[in-house]
Symmetry: C2
Subunit: 378 residues, 2 copies
């Protein structure tokens, strides 16, 4: 294999596939990046066996030569060194040549690296996915959907299924749900499907976090293909594979209350800042709990008390408060996560009593909701 | 004590004194910030007993009221909470009121914190320093002098005196020297003294690093007062005290070679980048060592070899090479530290053989030098 390649394109591709490479893998060859040069261009692959990322650098782009493939072939190079080397090379083009025993020469200007490569035949093959039942979501919408749900997955392995986000696709609608059994995040979005598709899958939270990092903010469609145990996200030059979680996701629809006893509308930012301040002292005490009480004249009081350090009391003027009086305690962290995930300058919070889960929604928007279980404090 | 104080001024002062507060202190009251309100304004103090920082907020500044002192007094508040609270308060002014048993109310808008304070009488007193024998250095020059020397102090406590930077003031010249016995950094600067002052002190590296962070880039003079075991740096509203290290600093002048066998002049940035690349592989191997060899035609070769990973060879075109041929090995890290510390687009490196320390200087500037001991590699 011998190629001459544009440095900036290579740096970007290496950065992308590096997101799948883990230094703590038990399979030594997965600490490497697989490089394949064909007539069409160069393909890089990184994988930690849960996530695999493939990035393609075309030989030509907009009539400009990006890769000059002199001899086709392939090699696996240590990801950590290869990525640092290409980033620091002095010139705009880089020559990569694989010689005897996979020893690889990387040349740029008057700099010459010789790296001990590995046999690409030993690199695990990526799943072959039939691209039949695919659906499309614009990249920026996909990033939103991920960010508004993934933070609520469980970090504990006691119920592994809850470490993923449940995706259900039905009637051209994607519904994403994440819960750690103390709070729940849900987001719906319209998707373009080719047929009457129905899926019900659970994608690991970690995979979605990496996907969110790698996707650019654009309205370019991302093609999504689902198989029995894999999901593939496909953009112009990138393939992102993730395994799916085994098992049935719990039915969460019955958790969401349909009625309410107390409803309030507040300015999102002002409310978030008040909770943030109240949590300054709460963090030290019992599990970061703050207390909310309705007062008269559409005012609610946010308070928190840590006997050793001190206490804080704060009044927030609501836009509207309707229904019964209420005193309720909840995790400040969950509330802040939920408020940051929602869109819109104003939000509506619907309570069904001090011991029942409550729901936070943007005003006039049913496509997303956040649910939080209160904390018993007496 | 009761004051109404401008939030932005308070936030900045708290940030400054926080640099001296350590959460790992064995003296509980030092986890707090001491606040003293007098007719003239409010003084904040933070200390970890090695470093103490005092910041003064004047009652008025440029005809604007900054602090309204309603009742004089003092209190000590937990630094960690107090600093976060003042940063997150909603309005531009903050009311601080100390009540019974040092319980302190902090009010801003509709937010009210009650913090358990501590008795300010228990807070250690700062050293009283006679401001007689002081000298002056502009803040930006002082920051340069610190950055160009402090990185070379020893991080090991086997010879505690080497964890500090030696400052010698004589004939209106300040000479700063730091060494960890493998490399040495020296910087001279003119200073303004009031009398025929002579000092020879050792300031802990950690203190100088904190001082560098707290000083703003400006040409305002910093007043420096030296006593037997303390040094005080004084700007308009800030006092920075550091203890001095006990013991005699070694005489380093005889380490610096006065003659040379090989001299080369190189472009600083190009040379730094070449060393950086060579060190990519060296880092894994024997102590980050790279090799430099003179070739013909004013070219030097930089190379490094890590048998398991690979090797790198790189040619650098020098502006000038004079004297004997040379092959020498040295720590890439020390060389990069030295090159980053020096000023100027071109530097001169003077070697006295492969086993002797060599000296790096900016071209046409004798006020600073870096010295590195080579590494034996055979």
């Amino acid at each position: 294999m011998k190629v001459i390649i544009d440095r900036d394109h290579l740096v970007r591709s290496v950065q992308d596939v590096m997101k799948a490479v883990s230094s703590r893998t038990t399979i030594p060859i997965l600490t490497g990046i697989k490089i394949v040069a064909s007539k069409q261009g160069v393909t890089l692959t990184g994988s930690d066996s849960d996530i695999s990322i493939e990035s393609f650098i075309p030989a030509e782009e907009e009539d400009r030569v990006i890769v000059d493939v002199i001899t086709q072939g392939s090699v696996v190079l240590q990801a950590r060194f290869f990525s640092e080397i290409v980033r620091k090379l002095p010139k705009e083009t880089i020559e990569i040549e694989v010689k005897d025993k996979f020893v690889t020469t990387i040349r740029s200007g008057k700099t010459e690296f010789h790296l001990n490569g590995l046999d690409p035949e030993e690199y695990p093959r990526l799943p072959q996915i039939q691209e039949e039942n695919m659906f499309k979501v614009p990249a920026d919408l996909l990033k939103h959907v991920i960010r508004q749900t993934v933070f609520a997955v469980s970090t504990s392995e006691t119920r592994p299924i809850l470490t993923g986000v449940n995706w259900r696709i039905e009637n051209n609608e994607l519904m994403c749900t994440a819960t750690d059994s103390h709070r729940l995040a849900m987001r719906k979005a319209k998707v373009e499907t080719e047929s009457e598709a129905y899926y019900n899958i659970v994608i690991p939270g970690k995979s979605l976090n990496e996907l969110n990092k790698i996707l650019e903010e654009s309205n370019e469609p991302v093609h999504i293909v689902v198989t029995e145990n894999q999901v593939l996200f496909k953009t112009k030059h990138l393939l992102f594979f993730s395994r799916l979680l085994d098992g049935n996701y719990p039915d969460t629809s019955r958790l969401i209350p349909t009625e309410s006893q107390t409803d309030m509308i507040v300015k999102t930012k002002e409310f978030l800042q008040a909770i943030d301040r109240a949590s300054l002292l709460a963090r030290e005490g019992r599990n970061n709990v703050v207390r909310l009480s309705t007062l008269s004249d559409k005012v609610v009081e946010i308070s928190s008390n840590s006997p050793e350090i001190g206490k804080v009391v704060e009044e927030v003027q609501c836009e509207q408060v309707e229904g019964e009086e209420l005193k309720i305690s909840f995790s400040a962290k969950y509330m802040m996560d939920a408020l940051k995930a929602l869109e819109g300058a104003e939000i509506k919070i619907s309570f069904t009593g001090a011991m029942r889960p409550f729901v936070i929604r943007p005003l006039h928007d049913d496509s997303m909701l956040q649910l939080i279980l209160p904390v018993r404090t007496y």
